[in-house]
């Protein structure tokens, strides 16, 4: 296991909480590059290779990538207590901020100025999500069957409003089977 560690001492539960607390506070619009810098370069809790390997699992499993990463790092060093400390540290500041924004919205939502401000904010954040979708779509250009699955999934969930569970139960195994057939 020694080669996975980044040279620093094994962090305490409190250090895990503080490390991820800082990450939650500064991570606007994408925590991933900041997480790598904090874990590998600044605090040297893990090597670059261990980071990539752990991130691979975080992206593979359901759940937010950074949330899974905090759980994995906490578990590796301090077991369940470490995982809880890292996860609550990561979530604490963003939760307080998002509820603060929610209170503000709730209080001033009848003010026409604030309504227009939030309508503009919502329209811009919809644009950010469209960009995310387009950037994820680009690498699929050369995978014809992949695009078919993407189109079916989009039509089912976005247009026909089919629930997520049956959609996943049909399309995920189908897509994995096609991938297996194309690579075999």
């Amino acid at each position: 296991m020694a080669e996975r560690r980044g040279g620093a001492e094994v962090p305490s539960v409190w250090a895990l909480f503080l490390g991820f607390l800082g990450l939650g506070l500064i991570g606007f619009g994408g925590v991933l590059p900041l997480a790598r810098r904090m874990l590998v370069e600044q605090r040297r809790w893990m090597t670059a290779e261990a980071f990539i390997e752990t991130l691979g699992l975080c992206q593979f499993l359901p759940g937010g990538n950074i949330i899974n990463l905090s759980v994995a790092v906490g578990l590796e060093f301090r077991g369940a207590a470490g995982a809880v400390a890292a996860l609550t540290g990561l979530m604490a500041a963003p939760t307080a901020i998002v509820i603060g924004l929610g209170v503000f919205f709730e209080r001033f939502r009848d003010d026409p100025h604030v309504q227009h401000l939030f309508a503009g904010l919502a329209a811009a954040s919809a644009g950010l999500l469209v960009t995310t979708a387009l950037k994820m779509l680009a690498p699929l250009r050369t995978r014809f069957f992949g695009l078919v699955i993407t189109g079916l999934c989009f039509a089912a969930v976005g247009w026909l409003r089919v629930p997520l569970l049956p959609t996943m139960l049909v399309l995920a195994p189908l897509s994995i089977a096609i991938t297996w057939w194309r690579t075999a």
Partner: protein, 176 residues
């Protein structure tokens, strides 16, 4: 109240284990449950909550505690957060050891690559649903289009885009 909390727990616990490819893939189902099934808020309110969550720092699932809080106050916040982040975290703990063992197994890569098209379809559906609910007027649609164009090429901090969108909505009120 208890009934609402049980519903929140059930919705987010299911989404927790279905959130392959990160948080944005669960938005269509979240919106369907909160708006269409339970009528806790309107579609445009859901988009406003999503926008608020985007404006906060941290992981992109910050919409979950905010939705819980809007629906059922502090208990809703706690129940929704634990239901959304608990099950996937426990799965993470169970999978950590197995992952190292199967790291070089070819099946792992096939499953991972096979899930990508589904993930992309879900994120595209999220974008369509949120955009449709956010863009009630031509002016707001224009803000969305400008935000897409601005962020497609250059690496620009999304906070600036959100601030510019809010300013444009504020200044343009009455015109569109």
């Amino acid at each position: 109240m208890t009934g609402v909390l049980v519903s929140l727990a059930a919705i987010f616990a299911e989404l927790s284990l279905l959130a392959f490819g990160g948080g944005n893939t669960t938005l269509p189902e979240m919106q369907r449950q909160v708006v269409d099934v339970h009528h806790w808020m309107s579609a445009s309110d859901f988009s406003a909550v999503f926008a608020l969550a985007r404006a906060a720092p941290g992981p992109n699932l910050m919409i979950v505690p905010l939705l819980g809080w809007r629906v059922a106050g502090l208990p809703g916040l706690v129940v929704s957060s634990v239901a959304m982040f608990g099950p996937s975290s426990i799965l993470m703990g169970l999978a950590l050891g197995l992952w190292r063992r199967f790291k070089n197994n070819p099946w792992r890569r096939i499953v991972q690559a096979g899930l990508v098209p589904v993930t992309v379809g879900l994120v595209a559906a999220s974008a369509a649903i949120i955009a449709r609910a956010s863009d009630g007027t031509w002016g707001l649609t224009a803000i969305t289009v400008v935000a897409v164009v601005a962020t497609l090429g250059e690496r620009i901090n999304p906070l600036w885009v959100l601030a510019a969108g809010a300013a444009a909505g504020f200044v343009g009120m009455g015109w569109f």
